[in-house]
């Protein structure tokens, strides 16, 4: 199969370029993805940090707020206690302490809907009754008025006072007086541990000193009341102070921070997206450039390969052309050699035949006068009746030399003409052999008797080769061979010529044929100088020759082998330096031809 350079190159390089481009795209994509992921992670992290920061800021503001207000409430309570405890609350508390709450406390709590233990309404009512008894204590109204005055126009919305039993003995919201706070964690912390407890709560509605307020943020603090001048806890205050404006400020700040954080986040995300887009674009551009370069490389390589292919084809054509020319010149050379040989061969019979014919012609010319005389004599003799004739020989004597010249030996003339016939036979033999050799009048392949061919070839060869070389034929009967006779003749002539050239001086060439029924073997053996070992492997190589430049083309044996192989045969060679060489052409015999022979 022919090697299609351009096609194979195109397919292979396009395939590889495709793979390269594909893997580049894949890796670029991978890189883009991981970059994107990294960006997203970064962005998420950044978001979290911002978020956390905002949240922490909010929480710390609230904590600060609580702490500040608690401290404020503590001071407030101190002031309040210092101002009112000894004068107003201590006696009132002492009296309220006298009211028994045991029967109310003894009432069990019940679980509410959510399962928490809450005091039942009768218990609440019981404590409300306690409250009513407390409010009924004289001086309550004055105390209440004092508290109201003290707290009026402040941020304190409500004040409660608990005794050490946990009973609400005063509340600016009167309905809450008498309530039991013993289980309340804030009260317990302040009353039992002396620790102020504060919490930030939101109330949708709240009963403040100056009426009910709505939607307020409040800080409630349970504060231990210390007996002035000592560290003895004597009661617990609960103070509700309004922090709504602070909290609003905090929330506003937090919102602002969140907004900034979100804006930052958005910016980061946008930057990330822009970055990704830029990277994508860059990588696309990169891919496009690499793809373009690959395409350029492919086109350049394709051009080079196509040019190379054209050059190869041209060289092949040139080589083919040169080969044909050389083959032709080899043919012409061997033809020329053959023509020279034939011309010489023709020259010999031509020379003696011409010589003899011209001599016979001259002889006939010289016989003309004697013949005329003889004819005249015969006429005279016919007309004479007697036995004697008298001739006047004066004129004949004058022409005696002509008569003498005409006394030609006729048998010699006959011999001459016999030689001429011999010459003509030689020439026609040559013509027949020439015709048989070329076989131009035959179809290109035919069933042929190779013995006949070899006789012709040997005859032709003998005209060329030295007379010191004897050419012997040892031919055995052969089956027919399907062949191009003219071509095989060329092969045999080449082998015999080679054999002759291998012989210096005198020698012998034997042309032998053998057969085993299936193959025909034609061997040409010479007593020449043989083929040296280093030459032997090359004898069938194209253009290999041991002859001086200009004398041999090195094609003879190469062509001979080509011809024999085209006939389905082969050439074998056996050689011994100094002894001689035998070339054997082995050809397949015609099977069909052997059948009638066998029948």
């Amino acid at each position: 199969m022919r090697f299609r350079l351009v096609r194979y190159f195109t397919v292979a390089s396009l395939g590889v370029f495709g793979l390269v481009a594909g893997s580049l795209v894949y890796f670029e994509h991978q890189q883009g993805e991981s970059f994107k992921q990294m960006k997203e992670e970064q962005s998420a992290f950044f978001g979290e940090v911002q978020q956390g920061f905002a949240e922490r800021q909010d929480a710390s503001a609230r904590r600060d707020l609580l702490a500040i207000h608690e401290a404020g409430n503590v001071n407030l309570t101190r002031l309040f206690a210092n101002a009112l405890w000894s004068s107003d609350f201590q006696p009132f508390v002492a009296r309220a302490q006298a009211i028994d709450v045991h029967q109310c406390r003894a009432m069990p709590d019940v679980p509410d809907a959510s399962g928490r233990m809450t005091p039942p309404p009768e218990k609440k009512a019981c404590f409300s009754e306690v409250g009513r008894q407390i409010m009924a204590i004289p001086g309550f109204a004055e105390l209440d008025a004092k508290v109201y005055d003290a707290m009026k126009k402040s941020t304190v919305f409500k004040i409660k006072v608990f005794d050490l039993r946990g009973i609400t003995i005063y509340s600016s919201e009167h309905a809450q007086i008498g309530e039991d706070k013993m289980t309340n964690a804030g009260w317990r912390g302040a009353a039992l541990d002396g620790v102020a407890q504060s919490e930030l709560t939101h109330r949708d509605t709240f009963s403040a000193f100056e009426g009910v307020v709505e939607d307020r943020d409040l800080i409630s603090s349970y504060l231990p009341v210390l007996e002035p001048g000592s560290a003895k806890i004597v009661g617990v205050f609960e103070v509700y102070s309004d922090v709504t404006p602070f909290l609003q400020q905090i929330e506003a700040t937090s919102a602002q921070i969140r907004e900034v954080a979100e804006a930052n986040q958005r910016r980061v995300e946008a930057a990330g997206v822009a970055g990704l887009a830029a990277i994508d674009e860059a990588s696309n551009r990169q891919l496009a450039v690499v793809g373009g370069l690959l395409a350029l490389l492919f086109v350049a390589l394709l051009l080079i390969v196509r040019r190379a292919d054209r050059i190869i084809v041209e060289q092949e054509r040139d080589r083919e052309h040169t080969h044909q020319q050389l083959t032709q010149s080899e043919k012409m050379a061997s033809l020329g050699q053959m023509v020279a040989g034939v011309a010489h061969q023709l020259n010999t019979p031509l020379a003696f035949s011409q010589n003899n014919v011209l001599m016979v012609k001259d002889a006939l010319q010289s016989m003309q006068y004697p013949m005329k005389v003889a004819t005249r004599m015969s006429e005279i003799l016919r007309d004479v009746d007697g036995d004697h004739v008298t001739l006047k020989v004066v004129r004949l004597k004058q022409n005696l030399d002509q008569l003498e010249n005409g006394s030609v030996d006729v048998s010699m003339l006959q011999e001459m003409l016999t030689d001429v016939l011999d010459g003509i036979n030689q020439m026609s033999e040559l013509v027949v052999n020439l015709r048989d050799f070329t076989r131009l009048d035959r179809a290109s392949t035919t069933r042929a008797d190779l013995n006949k061919s070899l006789r012709t070839v040997a005859y032709i060869a003998k005209t060329v080769i030295s007379k010191d070389i004897q050419v012997a034929e040892e031919l055995t009967e052969l089956p027919a061979v399907e062949c191009n006779v003219s071509q095989l003749n060329q092969v045999f002539l080449n082998l015999i010529n080679n054999a002759a050239q291998a012989i210096d001086g005198a020698g012998r060439i034997v042309v032998r044929t053998e057969t085993d029924g299936n193959t025909v073997r034609v061997s040409v053996a010479d007593t020449g100088k043989g083929i040296p070992k280093d030459v032997l492997p090359h004898i069938f190589d194209l253009y290999y020759t041991t002859k001086p430049a200009g004398e041999g083309t090195g094609l003879g044996l190469a062509i001979a082998r080509d011809i024999v192989r085209e006939h389905g045969g082969d050439i074998e060679v056996r050689t011994e330096v100094g002894v001689g060489t035998t070339f054997t052409v082995v050809l397949p015999a015609c099977e069909a031809q052997t059948l009638p022979l066998a029948a």
Binding site: A351, F352, N356, G423, D468
Partner: protein
């Protein structure tokens, strides 16, 4: 009828030998042989005037046979007959066999007997000379007289010849035919060493005509490329002494130039010897074409060197007249 000559015809083709015998037996005593050995045996036993031999024969070629004949019987004239354009054979027939004529087959039946008759006459009337030994020794005695004309496009050939002869002879060189004519006219030349073509003009004509007018001049032809026809003509019409295909090895050049000089000496001392080298007449048309070529070369040379124009052309004209007689005008 008296047979005036004993001749030997040799050819391995019996028909050829018979034909030659029929053709020649009327005038000559014809002997025949079918191979070289038989021929040599006959030459040893008989005194032949002429031996005619075919070139292409088994065992011993015609050239080899005639070389032996020349050795065995120097007075016998040798004619080579061939039907094959074998360049090597014709060169060897000059150099080894020194044949009188080289005749192609088929021969001319009216010419061949005349050539044989001429050869017989020469063999019988002209003294024979023992073959000149090619030993390369220059004869000192002739040093002052001998001069060699080298006619070649390449001056290197003159140098080679000068080197070969040493002090043995003067060497004149020219690369054109007109100058050659001038030199030949002005000084006695012993040996001409010439290329077959000089300045793309056929120089063999000059050599042939010189030999026909001045048989004592010995000619050596050196050639780059030559054909069978040219050499045959040089033998028959120029009786050249040697024909050497170029390149020539210096040793061989020395050998043949020395032997040519001695040949010239012997031809001069005994003018009768030259008769053995009688040439076939060069056709008048060839002489005329040579004269016109020489004149055109002379006018070209004159045109290049105006200074010597008048005298030079005049001397060439005179030279042509003197050298070739009536053919010049």
């Amino acid at each position: 009828m008296k047979k005036n000559g004993r001749i030997l015809c040799v050819d391995d083709e019996p028909n050829i030998v018979r034909s030659l015998q029929w053709l020649l037996q009327r005038e000559f005593e014809v002997h025949t042989a079918s191979d070289g050995q038989a021929a040599l045996a006959l030459v040893g036993a008989n005194d032949f005037d002429v031996v005619i031999s075919d070139q292409r024969m088994p065992v011993m070629s015609g050239v080899e046979l005639l070389r032996e004949v020349r050795r065995l019987s120097p007075r016998t004239m040798r004619i080579l007959l061939t039907g094959y354009s074998d360049m090597q054979a014709v060169v060897r027939s000059v150099n080894e066999s020194e044949v009188f004529r080289f005749i192609n087959k088929p021969w001319n039946i009216s010419e061949l007997p005349k050539i044989v008759a001429q050869a017989v006459k020469i063999a019988r009337t002209q003294p024979a000379q023992a073959p000149i030994e090619e030993d390369g020794e220059m004869a000192a005695a002739l040093a002052d007289e001998a001069s060699i004309l080298v006619l070649d496009d390449n001056p290197g050939m003159a140098e080679a010849v000068t080197e070969a002869v040493g002090n043995g002879a003067k060497v004149a060189y020219t690369g054109n035919l007109a100058e050659a004519v001038g030199i030949l006219n002005n000084e006695p030349i012993s040996v001409i060493v010439s290329e077959t073509r000089v300045g793309s003009i056929d120089a063999t004509r000059l050599v042939r005509l010189m030999k026909s007018r001045h048989p004592e001049i010995v000619t050596i032809m050196l050639s780059d490329e030559s054909d069978f026809e040219t050499v045959t003509t040089l033998i028959n019409q120029g009786q050249i002494y040697r024909f050497v295909p170029k390149p020539v090895r210096p040793g061989y050049l020395k050998l043949i130039v020395a032997s040519a000089l001695r040949k010239h000496v012997s031809l001069k001392q005994e003018p009768g010897l030259a008769g053995r080298h009688e040439v076939e007449a060069t056709p008048a048309a060839v002489a005329a074409s040579l004269v016109s070529d020489v004149q055109s070369v002379a006018s070209q040379v004159a045109a290049r060197n105006p200074g010597l124009a008048a005298g030079f052309l005049g001397s060439i004209g005179a030279g042509l007249r003197r050298l070739f007689g009536a053919t010049a005008h």
